[in-house]
Symmetry: C2
DNA sequence: ATGAAAGCGCTAACAC
DNA sequence: GTGTTAGCGCTTTCAT
């Protein structure tokens, strides 16, 4: 039963073709191309020459099937709490870029998948069980914390970017969002704000922790922190924030935005409303994206070390693939004081 | 020669295991799970039940090897002209996000690779010839136009995002950069600018076309357009632009930035130098990234339809995979007038 | 140092 | 409708 395939006129498609041309066995070609075995130098050179001449590349599918390792790391972005959000949130994409860089450097390829997990659905297992990837990086916990816990019990080579909870079972790398929230609130208070609001969606664990940290500090000063629930969907965000800002003006004098993007939107809308930042309203963001330096006034924010996070994720994952156990890593964020608070 | 592997206690790992449990042959299981063949309903249900119970997923590596199709599209980002640039340029990443969305929707997975092609190096062939992907999307031509032409002669399922040149052989989707440049310059002139400069690196074909279009219009008005070569590497960009802006002040009153990111940097640096936009300096950007709305003043820019581009790329690629010939697509950009010019 | 051969797990003729 | 079987292209013992 010949596999039906387009006739390929390339004379040397398989290692066997090449072997015939070189007058050796397929095994020898495999060894020569792999480089590691002890093949006669002349034989190797000859094989390499032919391979180069014909632009031959060993079929990775076959190689990987045989070796039971794929050289591919899956990166999956669950978008549960933000149905509308595309894979286009700047922060995720920046992290993704760094992950690509790190993985490439380590010789792995990166397979990207975006999912909108329905509450009862298996979105992770098909990816993990597909035999296509050696390990998986989950970017953001979304509202899938419990599901991640379950999966982690049966599947070791997984590292998640997100929020760490005491005693959790899945390996996570992320910022200390509680601390970040505290730093943000301390700054707002130091800048003289009295009536504060958190702008963001506290359904995501990361954001909930940011709120919580900020709230703790607020209470310690005898102040309160309101919630202005705003979502990140790129399309609706601006109008949503516009509405929030109309209400916020006069009621608050300090905003802690869950992300820089949100902070930026607040800044823009407040300007439209004729309010001055930081005079009428102090603002602190979160992430320290490159644009935070370029706004007017430049954004006071909490910096997450995205590149460092990517490095840590990949490092932990490779250790897990090698069979090691690993701890989670919580990275301390830092306050960057600029012009908005 | 048993492949050495960790002992897997999962009772049903292969289609054959499952077949034994179900009391049928592997072939039947394969058919049942594939869904398409005519399998007895009872048999199918039984097989599906067992599969679900044991969390069984057919090994994709084997399936793909056998079927000679991978269900994976490669996305590769060549970074030739920007050695330092990571995969973190906002525009590329936004496009990448949309590509991920489109491909996911069509049932394809996305394999991401970042390369820094040395001038003489084969960076595309290894990816194409790896047998891991059914087709490839190249995001940006970088300085590899000629190489892409060569590859296109021998490999059909490839679509490139970038600049279209008359008579080129590789299939490309991209904006009409020449037109974009013209629109930008027309706006600068209409806004009253007299001494203009283009901020960007004209080694990339896209940028060269933007410059060229702008230059044509400038000349038609008897004006000249200088070049301020600035690179996109996220790290060095700000300082580089800072130097350029110091020189620019007083010499120019209108800037056409190759990208919004560059325009943003110009805006920021000019503010630091105490100059007002648009009074002292008109600025037009390119891309219309979401942040362009949020700057102060909001950025006048040339909009590229990134989502539409992604859709077109995927559509063309799938047609090429199916064996069709396809034309290139050039999309008209539009001028978005905001506050900077 | 090289050849021979047995699969990796799955699919699709082909036969019944 | 289901079983049988011959590979997809590669790697790796085992034998020489």
């Amino acid at each position: 039963m010949p596999v039906d395939r387009k006739p390929d006129d390339r004379p040397v498609r398989t290692i066997t073709d090449l072997a015939k041309l070189a007058g050796v066995s397929p095994g020898t070609v495999s060894r020569a191309l792999a480089g590691n075995s002890l093949v006669n130098d002349k034989t190797r050179e000859k094989i390499e020459a032919i391979a180069r001449e014909h632009g031959f590349r060993p079929n990775q599918m076959a190689s990987r099937l045989r070796r039971q390792r794929t050289g591919v790391i899956g990166v999956i972005i669950p978008l549960g709490h933000e149905q509308k959000q595309q894979v286009s949130d700047t922060f995720f994409l920046t992290l993704l870029g760094h992950l690509a860089d790190e993985l490439t450097e380590k010789g792995y390829d990166l397979m990207l998948r975006r999912v909108v997990p329905a509450s009862d659905e298996d979105w992770l297992d098909p990816f993990i069980g597909s035999g296509m990837i050696d390990g998986v990086i989950v970017v953001g916990q979304s509202d899938q914390f419990n599901h991640l816990e379950e999966v982690a019990d049966g599947y070791r080579p997984m590292v998640v970017w997100g929020q760490h909870r005491e005693g959790q079972r899945h390996c996570v790398v992320g910022s200390d969002n509680l601390l970040g929230g505290k730093l943000a609130m301390q700054r707002l208070v130091a800048a003289g704000a009295k009536r504060m609001a958190f702008v963001g969606d506290t359904n995501a664990p990361e954001f909930a922790a940011r709120y919580s940290g900020a709230n703790q500090v607020a209470q310690s000063f005898g102040l309160t922190l309101s919630e202005l629930p705003a979502h990140l969907a790129t399309s609706g965000m601006t109008t949503e924030v516009a509405t929030l800002m109309e209400k916020a003006v006069g009621n608050y004098d300090g905003l802690f935005a869950a992300t820089d993007l949100l902070a930026l939107a607040c800044l823009g809308e407040l300007r439209k409303l004729g309010r001055n930042v930081p005079e009428d309203m102090k603002i602190v963001g979160f992430d320290d994206l490159p644009i935070a330096q370029q706004t007017a006034p430049p954004l006071t924010t909490i910096r997450q070390d995205i590149a460092g996070g990517a490095r840590a994720i990949v490092q932990l994952l490779l250790r897990r693939i090698a069979g090691e156990e690993t701890e989670s890593i919580v990275m301390p964020p830092t306050l960057v004081v600029r012009g908005t608070a």
